[in-house]
Every structure is written in structure tokens, then in C-alpha cells.
Symmetry: C2
Subunit: 187 residues, 2 copies
């Protein structure tokens, strides 16, 4: 009995891209080359198998589009199952540990929210993000020893980590105002 398949991070990226508009594997590759997507390779050996896997598991489907002259292409689009999986991924609650371990994934989620999530949903994400960032910041700050016992290298590494989180808190503030301006206000 095969255990239930759920998309990998690359899988979600592909779902996100196909959710924007139906594309062929080739189109997906071009898009990933022009807008470098996290750390993923856009090589055929990465993309085509990943698409086939999503299709095999019913997250996407495809039709072959014949064009005069040009080679026919297999164009993929999300199924209902695919849309649900993407949406669930986008709306997943954040963990504090995501800030240090999965930051690039969080940013991918933010990016792909554009095509499905409402401003209100994006705001929820940003609020959650800022909240977790603040928690993480206070954890990091509690680790700074007042004594000069620890090395410069260690102290600077920690300082960098703190600045990173701080910067993300400020970024979230900025982003939230951008999405709040369009929000209908309550009396």
C-alpha cells in the first residue's frame, strides 16, 4: 500500500507557477531561469520528472497542444486537488523555527499568494510572520552573553542573525501597510 504522496517543495513551486497560468515544462524552465526560484535547478532532468510525478498523483493534468509547424507541447494545469494542495500550503501556520530553517520557503509562499490569496489572507500571513519573527528575535537576544567570554566570530554571527530577524520584522511592517491601504476599514 503506497503511502500518501504529498508534494515536495519543488512540487509546490511548480504548482505555484502553473497556478499563475498553464505552461509546458519548457515554459516552466524558462520562468525559473529568468526569475531564479529559491535554490532549484531549472534543468530538464529536474523539471520534467517532477511534473510527471505531480501528474501521476493527480495534482496537475495536461493536454497536448498542436501548433502549426512548431513542435506540439504538453501544457500542464492544476486540477482541483492541485489547487487545494497549493492553498493548504500557502495557508499553513508558521512555526518559529521556520524563520531560521525555512525562510526561503516562507518567501516562496508569499510570492505565490499573489495569484490566489486575498489581501486579507496575505495580511494574516504577514502578521503571523512578524509575530514569529519577534519571538525568534527575543530568543536570539537572550543568547547574547554580556561577558566578553565568547569569541568575536561567535558574537558577530549572533549579531548578524539578530539583524536579519530585525530586518524581516521591519519588512513585514512595510509589507503590511502596503496591503492595509487597500483594505476596507471598519467604522
Amino acid at each position: 500500500m503506497a503511502r500518501p504522496y504529498s508534494p515536495t517543495l519543488l512540487g509546490y513551486v511548480l504548482l505555484g507557477l502553473l497556478n499563475q497560468l498553464p505552461r509546458s515544462g519548457y515554459d516552466v524552465r524558462l520562468e525559473m531561469e529568468s526569475t531564479p526560484t529559491a535554490h532549484f535547478s531549472s534543468s530538464p532532468g529536474s523539471i520534467y520528472p517532477a511534473l510527471q510525478l505531480l501528474k501521476k498523483n493527480g495534482f496537475i493534468d495536461s493536454e497536448v497542444v498542436h501548433r502549426s509547424r512548431l513542435k506540439p507541447r504538453e501544457v500542464f494545469h492544476l486540477t482541483e486537488k492541485g489547487r487545494k494542495a497549493l492553498s493548504a500550503w500557502l495557508h499553513k501556520r508558521l512555526a518559529v523555527s521556520d524563520l531560521r530553517e525555512n525562510l526561503s520557503e516562507l518567501m516562496l509562499r508569499f510570492r505565490f499568494m499573489e495569484d490566489t490569496a486575498s489581501d486579507e489572507e496575505t495580511l494574516r500571513f504577514l502578521r503571523d510572520f512578524r509575530r514569529k519573527a519577534r519571538t525568534y528575535a527575543s530568543i536570539l537576544k537572550s543568547q547574547t552573553r554580556p561577558q566578553a567570554d565568547s569569541s568575536r566570530h561567535f558574537a558577530l554571527s549572533l549579531q548578524r542573525e539578530i539583524s536579519m530577524v530585525q530586518m524581516h520584522i521591519e519588512w513585514a511592517d512595510q509589507a503590511m501597510t502596503a496591503f492595509e491601504s487597500a483594505k476596507p476599514d471598519k467604522p
Copy 2:
């Protein structure tokens, strides 16, 4: 003819930790748990095979230390080959692309410089780092479209990337002053 083995990133992390002081696999695991090292798992299934591979390829060696009562432990230490490999990794020139693709690796290198590199070498690293960061920053800034055609999500993602790099430039400045203060000055 087996093609020449060179350590993976995890391999370099282990070399870095063993360069600080000789340790058993168990000690390495404890250290990685207490000071979370990049994204690597400290599970036995990760650490022990990785250590064996380094040993097989002559980067580290080990002796079994028997203690009264307690179980004997296999304590690893760098060989000359291992020290050279670690040093080469630490001193490798940076690429601009490393800023977006291998930032955590760069920070690991900075961290492990503590135990081998002189202040002057650390400064060289930081200067190179700042230089590449500035280049990357200007590339990113050139991508910000003045038109409002692109989405808020896209614009904010780009803004975040820029802030990140900016922050790292400032961090490098800070770090450099910390290492310059101890440097002997020229007349």
C-alpha cells in the same frame, strides 16, 4: 578508477568542528544540537557515515580511547590533508552568486575561521564579502522597475532581497572594525 573525492558541505562542517578539538561522533552530535549548524541534522544516521567517509578518504583519522567503566569512544582528529582541505575551503574566493545561493555556507566559513585564520585573513574574507554584496545590491536595485506595472508581491520580495544584502554590507562593516582594531597599523 574512482574519481577524486572532495568533502561535501557537511564534510567541511565536520572538519571545522574537529579542527576546534578532537571529538567522538557523539560529541559532534551534541555540539550540533546545542549550536544548530546550518540546516544539518545531528542524527546518528547523518553523522557517523559522514565521519567514516572522511576517514576513508584520509581527511581525518581516529583513535579509540578507553576510559575506566565508560564505553570506549572513537575520537577523530584532522590529518594534514584534512587541515589543508579545510583551509582551502575557508580561503576560497567568493562569487557574487554565493550571496543568494550559499549565504549559510559563507557564514559557516566565517564561523570556522576563528580556529585557524588570522585577523588579516578574516579581514580579507570580510572585504571580499562586502565587495560581492555591493555588486549584488546594485544588480538587484537595477531590477526595481520605476513603473507600477509589477505586483506588490513582486516588489516587496525584491525589496526584501535588497534589504537583506544592505544589512549584510552593514554587518561586514561592523565586523571589519572589530578585526581592524586589533590589527597592527602601518606608519
